[in-house]
C-alpha cells in the first residue's frame, strides 16, 4: 500500500527525498496522511526548482566571483596552533578550479582505526606516524664517499637516526637491492660499501652510482614528507604534508572510510569521479568558509558538476572545460582566439549559435531568460491563400 504511494511520486520527487521520507515517517502512518506528506513535499520541491531559462552558470560565477574579490590573497597563519602551512585563499581556489595535478601543498588527514585513534599508546602512535614518512638513504647518512682505488662508494650511517627510524643495516641493504639489481652491498658495521656488479667500471660511473643511491627510497610512503599526529574531537589523527592516498589506504591501521587528501586528482584515481566531485565542493567551500564569506554550496556544486561531467576532472581552463564547448566563437572569445579559429577553419567546423556568447557577438537575441521561449503557430491545414 505504502510502497504504491511512493511509486506514484517517483516522477515528482527524486529518489533521495522519497527514501528520506520513508525513513523518517512513523511506521504507523495512515495512507491518507502519507499522501499529504508526499504532496506537500512535491509542492515544496517543485517550488525550489530553477525556472527554465535561468542563467544558473552566470549567477554561480557572479556569486562566487563577487565575494572572491574580498578574499585575502595570502595564506592565513594561526599563531600557536600546531598546523602545517597549507595554501588557502584565492591561490587555493585557483588551484582547485584549474584542476591542477601538482598541488602547492598536498596534504592528507589520516584517520586511524579504533584501537589507535583513542591514543592509549602514544608511543605506538608516534612510531606509526614516523613510519609513514618517506625516508631516503640520504636522510640518515652522514657521508657518501668514493674509494678511488677500489672504485666503491662508502656510505657512512648515522646509527642514532637509524634507531629512531627503526632501521637496521640488513633492512637498508634489502631496500636498496630491491630497487637496483646491479649493486653489491657489503655490510661494514658503521658503513656500507657499495660496489657495482659489472667488472670494468670507470670513476665516472661510480660517481653516478653515488648520486643515484642518495635518493633511494628506503622506508615509509612515497610522497609523504611530514607527519603530525593531532588530537581532533577526542581522537588522534595524523596530518601529513605530501599525499599518497593509494598507498596509505592499504595500511590496516588506517580507517579508509574517513581518511582523505586535498589532492582531487588522487581522489579521482582512487575513489572515482563522484568522490572527486564531492572533494571539489568540500575543498572550495572550506576556503570560502575560512575567509568568512557566505556563498551558497549549490553554486560550488554547479562548478564541480561542470568540472566532472565528462567522467574525468577537468579544470576551468582553455585546455579543460572550455575546450569542450561546441561553439568555435565561444572558445575563441575565451582565450587564444587565433588558435581556435584556425583549427576550426582547418576542419570546417560549424558553429550552431546555440549558446550565449556567440549570439551576443552577432547581436542576436541570446537563448536565456526572455530570449528562450519561441512562438510556434500551427498553420491552418488544407487552405492556401
Amino acid at each position: 500500500m505504502e510502497e504504491e504511494l511512493f511509486k506514484e511520486y517517483q516522477s515528482r520527487l527524486p529518489r533521495k527525498l522519497i527514501d528520506d521520507i520513508r525513513d523518517n515517517v512513523p511506521k504507523s502512518i495512515s495512507a491518507a496522511k502519507l499522501k499529504k506528506v508526499l504532496e506537500a513535499a512535491s509542492e515544496e520541491y517543485a517550488a525550489a526548482l530553477v525556472n527554465p531559462g535561468e542563467a544558473v552558470g552566470v549567477i554561480s560565477a557572479e556569486s562566487i566571483g563577487e565575494p572572491g574579490t574580498q578574499m585575502t590573497l595570502n595564506t592565513f597563519h594561526f599563531a600557536g596552533v600546531a598546523e602545517m602551512n597549507v595554501t588557502m585563499g584565492l591561490p587555493r581556489i585557483i588551484e582547485i578550479l584549474d584542476g591542477r595535478k601538482e598541488l602547492d601543498t598536498p596534504m592528507m588527514e589520516i584517520y586511524l582505526n579504533k584501537a589507535m585513534a583513542k591514543g592509549k599508546d602514544i608511543e605506538e602512535l608516534r612510531r606509526f606516524a614516523l613510519a609513514l614518512k618517506e625516508t631516503r638513504l640520504q636522510d640518515f647518512v652522514t657521508e657518501f664517499s668514493i674509494n678511488i682505488t677500489d672504485l666503491t662508494v662508502i656510505v657512512k650511517l648515522d646509527k642514532g637516526k637509524m634507531k629512531d627510524l627503526g632501521l637496521t643495516n640488513s633492512k637498508i641493504i634489502e631496500a636498496i637491492s630491491k630497487q637496483t639489481k646491479m649493486l653489491n652491498i657489503k655490510d661494514d658495521g658503521d658503513s656500507l660499501v657499495v660496489k657495482s656488479k659489472s667488472k670494468d667500471d670507470t670513476f665516472n660511473e661510480v660517481y653516478k652510482i653515488k648520486e643515484k643511491i642518495r635518493g633511494l627510497h628506503i622506508k615509509g610512503i612515497k610522497g609523504i614528507t611530514q607527519v603530525l599526529p593531532v588530537k581532533r574531537n577526542d581522537e588522534f589523527i595524523i596530518v601529513t604534508a605530501g599525499s599518497n592516498m593509494a598507498d596509505v589506504l592499504k595500511l590496516e591501521e588506517v580507517d579508509s572510510y574517513r581518511t582523505t587528501t586535498n589532492n582531487i586528482f588522487e581522489i579521482e584515481q582512487v575513489l572515482g569521479i563522484e568522490a572527486a566531485r564531492e572533494a571539489i565542493v568540500r575543498e572550495v567551500y572550506k576556503v570560502i568558509e575560512s575567509q568568512g564569506l557566505n556563498v551558497d554550496v549549490r553554486h560550488i556544486m554547479l562548478v564541480a558538476d561542470t568540472m566532472c561531467v565528462s567522467g574525468t576532472v577537468k579544470g576551468i581552463t582553455r585546455y579543460g572545460v572550455v575546450s569542450e564547448k561546441s561553439s568555435v566563437l565561444a572558445r575563441a572569445s575565451f582565450e587564444t582566439p587565433i588558435k581556435n579559429i584556425i583549427n576550426a577553419a582547418l576542419v570546417g567546423e560549424v558553429d550552431e549559435l546555440n549558446s550565449v556568447v556567440e549570439n551576443a557577438m552577432l547581436n542576436q537575441v541570446i537563448p536565456i531568460g526572455t530570449g528562450l521561449p519561441r512562438l510556434v503557430v500551427r498553420q491552418p491545414s488544407g487552405k492556401k491563400q
Binding site: G53, I342, G371
Partner: protein, 603 residues
C-alpha cells in the same frame, strides 16, 4: 677565524679589508674631517660580512647632528655664530658637526629624537624631530596626532591644491593651471610655513567648519557649503589653458598660414565659427568663447602631393586646420602671444581664462587627508548658526573622524578657533606644537566652551539642536579636480570609423562602455532583449548569398544584389548582425579563412 670583509664601491666589488669595523669608522672619521668627500656613505653588514660604500647620484640623504660620547657636536657657540651670520649651514657640514646619511648608513646609526634622550650609545641627534618628515608632510599641523596613512594622504592632497603658484602667472603660458582667488596664510601654521616662504604662495583659505550632519547631503565624505561664503569669494579660482598654433613649413616651400580661412577651403566650418577672429586670423582679447569657436584660424597645404595635377591646384585645395575650443570648454580670451620658436616658425599662443565658482561636485580638503566633494550648497539663511550668530562656511560629516582617526583635524579646528578669536597665528608644528591644553584654557578665557562645542540652532526653523556642535576654524584647500573639467554625458554621438562603435573618452564625446561583466548582469537577469537593444549601436543589415554563405553586394543603382563568387544567379537574403561581427568575418577572410553563413528561417 674572522674572514676578510668584501668591499663594494657603488655596488661594484673593489677588494677586501681585514678589520671592517675599524675600516668603516676610519672612513667616517676622514669624511668628517673633510679629507674625503662628504657625499659618501659607508655601511658594514655584519651578516654577510660586506662593506658597502655609496657615492653615486640619486640617493635620498638627510642631515643629522653628529654625537660623540653622548654629547652633540653642535654647541651653543655654533648657534650664536649662525645667528650672527658668521657661519652658514655648509660650514657646519665642513666642520663635521652635521653629516648627511643615506638609507643604508642610517641602518648603522642610533639617532636620538630629543637631546635629553642622548646616551653614550647614540651616534646622531635629529636637528629637530620635524626633520623626519618631508616638505609637504611638515605642512600638516599637529601631524603627530594623526595616523601615518592620513599624513601621506594629507600631503598628497596639498600638492593638488589650487593656490598662487607663481607671482608672474599673468605673463606665463602654462598648461592647465589654476589660480585661487584671495588665498590666505593658515592661522594654524608649522615652522615649515615660515621656512618655505609659504606666504608667497599660499594655497588655501581659513574658514569656519562645523562637524555635524545636515539633511544627509554630507554622507560618504561629502561636504556642505554655505552659498553666502561662496558669494563672498570662498573657493573661487580661475582656470587657464593655452591654445597653441604653429606655422609649420612643409616640403616644396609650402607652409601653414594663420588667417581667416577662405570659404572655398576644404573643411571650411561656418562663418559663425570664425566671427571672433581679427584680420590677422587670431582672436581678440576679452572675447567670450564657447565650444566649437575658432581661436586661431589656420590653413594648411594639402596632405599628399601625388600628381602634378594636384600641384597646380594646390592653392585651391588647402585644408582647414584651425584651432577651436574642444567639447565642453568655454571662457574668455585672456592673453594673446605672437612669437617665434626655435625652428624659426611663427608661433601663436592664445590663453583662455575661465572663472570657476565652487559648485556641487568640486573637491575640497583639509590638511589631514579629509577630502570630499560638495554635496549641497545651502543659502546662508538656511545654515545652522551658533548662539553668537556664527554661521559655518562648511559642514563636515562626523562619520569621517572615527575610522580615520585624524585627531589633528579636530585639534586644528580648536587651534584655529583660538587663533582667530585671539588674533594670532598658532604654532602647530609636528612634535613641537602649542599644547592643546593651553589652547583650551585660552578659549575658555575668550568666553567660549573650552572643548570647542557650541549651542547651535537650526537655520530653517530656529530650533536649538539637542546636541552641542563642535565648531571651529580651519584651513581648507580647493583641489584641482573640478566637475567642470569632468562632467560628461552622451545620448547620440561620434562613432569609430573602423568598428562603427561609439568613441571612447570625454574629449571625443564618447559613450560609457557596457563591458563584459555588465553584459553578464543582463544575462544573469535573463534580460535577453534588453541586452540585444543595448548592443544595437553598431548593428547593420548585410546581404548574404544563400548559396555560398559569403557576404554579397547590394547595388542600389541597378536595384540588384549579387554574390562576388556565385554572381547574379543566386538568392541573396538580408540579415541583421553587429558591424563588429561583420568586420571580424572580413578579417577572417583576409587571413585566408572562409567564414560561411548558413541561413535558416528565424521561426
Amino acid at each position: 677565524m674572522k674572514m676578510e670583509a668584501e668591499v663594494y664601491l657603488n655596488n661594484e666589488y673593489v677588494g677586501t679589508v681585514d678589520e671592517p669595523l675599524e675600516f668603516v669608522s676610519r672612513i667616517r672619521e676622514e669624511r668628517r674631517l673633510g679629507s674625503i668627500t662628504s657625499n659618501l656613505n659607508i655601511h658594514y653588514i655584519e651578516k654577510s660580512n660586506e662593506v658597502y660604500i655609496e657615492c653615486s647620484k640619486g640617493r635620498a640623504r638627510r642631515p643629522l647632528i653628529i654625537v660623540k660620547d653622548g654629547i652633540p657636536l653642535l654647541t651653543e657657540k655654533h648657534i650664536k655664530q649662525l645667528e650672527k651670520n658668521e657661519i652658514s649651514w655648509s660650514d657646519l657640514v665642513k666642520q663635521g658637526v652635521i653629516e648627511y646619511l643615506d638609507a643604508m648608513e642610517e641602518e648603522s646609526a642610533l639617532v636620538a629624537f630629543y637631546e635629553n634622550e642622548l646616551t653614550p650609545k647614540h651616534t646622531h641627534l635629529e636637528i629637530m624631530p620635524l626633520a623626519i618628515l618631508g616638505y609637504c608632510t611638515s605642512l600638516v599641523p599637529y601631524g603627530n596626532f594623526n595616523q601615518s596613512t592620513r599624513l601621506n594622504a594629507g600631503s598628497k592632497n596639498q600638492k593638488q591644491a589650487l593656490g598662487f603658484y607663481a607671482s608672474n602667472f599673468s605673463v606665463r603660458m602654462d598648461m592647465d593651471v589654476n589660480i585661487l582667488h584671495y588665498p590666505q596664510m593658515p592661522v594654524v601654521q608649522t615652522i615649515m610655513h615660515d621656512i618655505s616662504g609659504y606666504s608667497k604662495h599660499p594655497a588655501g583659505q581659513n574658514i569656519v567648519v562645523a562637524i555635524m550632519s545636515y539633511k544627509g547631503y554630507n554622507m560618504e565624505d561629502a561636504i556642505i557649503l554655505n552659498r553666502g561664503s561662496i558669494e563672498r569669494g570662498f573657493g573661487r579660482s580661475t582656470y587657464y589653458r593655452p591654445s597653441i598654433a604653429e606655422e609649420l613649413r612643409y616640403a616644396g616651400g609650402l607652409m601653414d598660414e594663420v588667417c581667416i580661412p577662405n570659404k572655398d577651403i576644404k573643411g571650411y566650418k561656418t562663418e559663425k565659427d570664425y566671427r571672433l577672429l581679427e584680420d590677422d586670423g587670431v582672436i581678440f582679447v576679452e572675447a567670450k568663447v564657447k565650444e566649437g569657436d575658432v581661436v586661431i584660424g589656420k590653413t594648411s597645404p594639402p596632405r599628399f602631393l601625388s600628381s602634378m595635377e594636384d600641384y597646380s591646384l594646390a592653392s585651391n585645395i588647402r585644408r582647414e586646420s584651425s584651432i577651436n575650443l574642444q567639447h565642453g570648454e568655454e571662457g574668455v580670451i585672456d592673453f594673446v602671444l605672437l612669437t617665434e620658436n626655435e625652428e624659426g616658425n611663427k608661433l601663436f599662443e592664445v590663453r583662455i581664462r575661465d572663472q570657476r565658482i565652487p559648485e556641487v561636485g568640486d573637491k575640497f580638503t583639509s590638511r589631514h587627508g579629509q577630502k570630499g566633494v560638495i554635496g549641497l550648497i545651502v543659502p546662508q539663511n538656511d545654515m545652522p548658526f551658533s548662539a553668537s550668530g556664527i554661521v559655518p562656511d562648511l559642514i563636515f560629516s562626523p562619520h569621517g573622524i572615527p575610522s580615520r582617526m585624524t585627531i589633528a583635524h579636530l585639534i586644528e579646528m580648536l587651534a584655529g578657533k583660538t587663533g582667530a578669536l585671539a588674533g594670532r597665528y598658532i604654532n602647530g608644528t609636528t612634535f613641537d606644537a602649542e599644547p592643546e591644553e593651553r589652547l583650551r584654557k585660552e578659549l575658555l578665557s575668550l568666553g567660549f566652551n573650552e572643548s570647542g562645542v557650541e549651542t547651535m540652532y537650526n537655520g530653517e526653523t530656529g530650533e536649538e539642536y539637542q546636541a552641542k556642535i563642535f565648531i571651529g576654524n580651519m584651513y581648507y584647500l580647493k583641489l584641482k579636480h573640478m566637475v567642470a573639467n569632468k562632467i560628461h554625458s552622451r545620448a547620440r554621438g561620434p562613432i569609430q570609423l573602423l568598428t562603427r562603435q561609439p568613441t571612447e573618452g570625454r574629449a571625443k564625446e564618447g559613450g560609457l562602455r557596457l563591458g563584459e561583466m555588465e553584459k553578464d548582469t543582463f544575462v544573469a537577469h535573463g534580460a535577453a532583449l534588453l541586452l540585444k537593444e543595448r548592443f544595437d549601436s553598431d548593428r547593420t543589415i548585410v546581404p548574404v548569398c544563400e548559396a555560398c554563405g559569403i557576404i554579397a553586394i547590394r547595388d542600389e543603382y541597378r536595384n540588384k544584389s549579387y554574390c562576388p563568387i556565385c554572381g547574379d544567379n543566386t538568392t541573396v537574403s538580408e540579415i541583421e548582425l553587429s558591424y563588429a561581427f561583420k568586420l571580424m568575418l572580413d578579417e577572417l577572410k583576409s587571413l585566408g579563412i572562409y567564414p560561411k553563413l548558413e541561413l535558416e528561417g528565424k521561426y
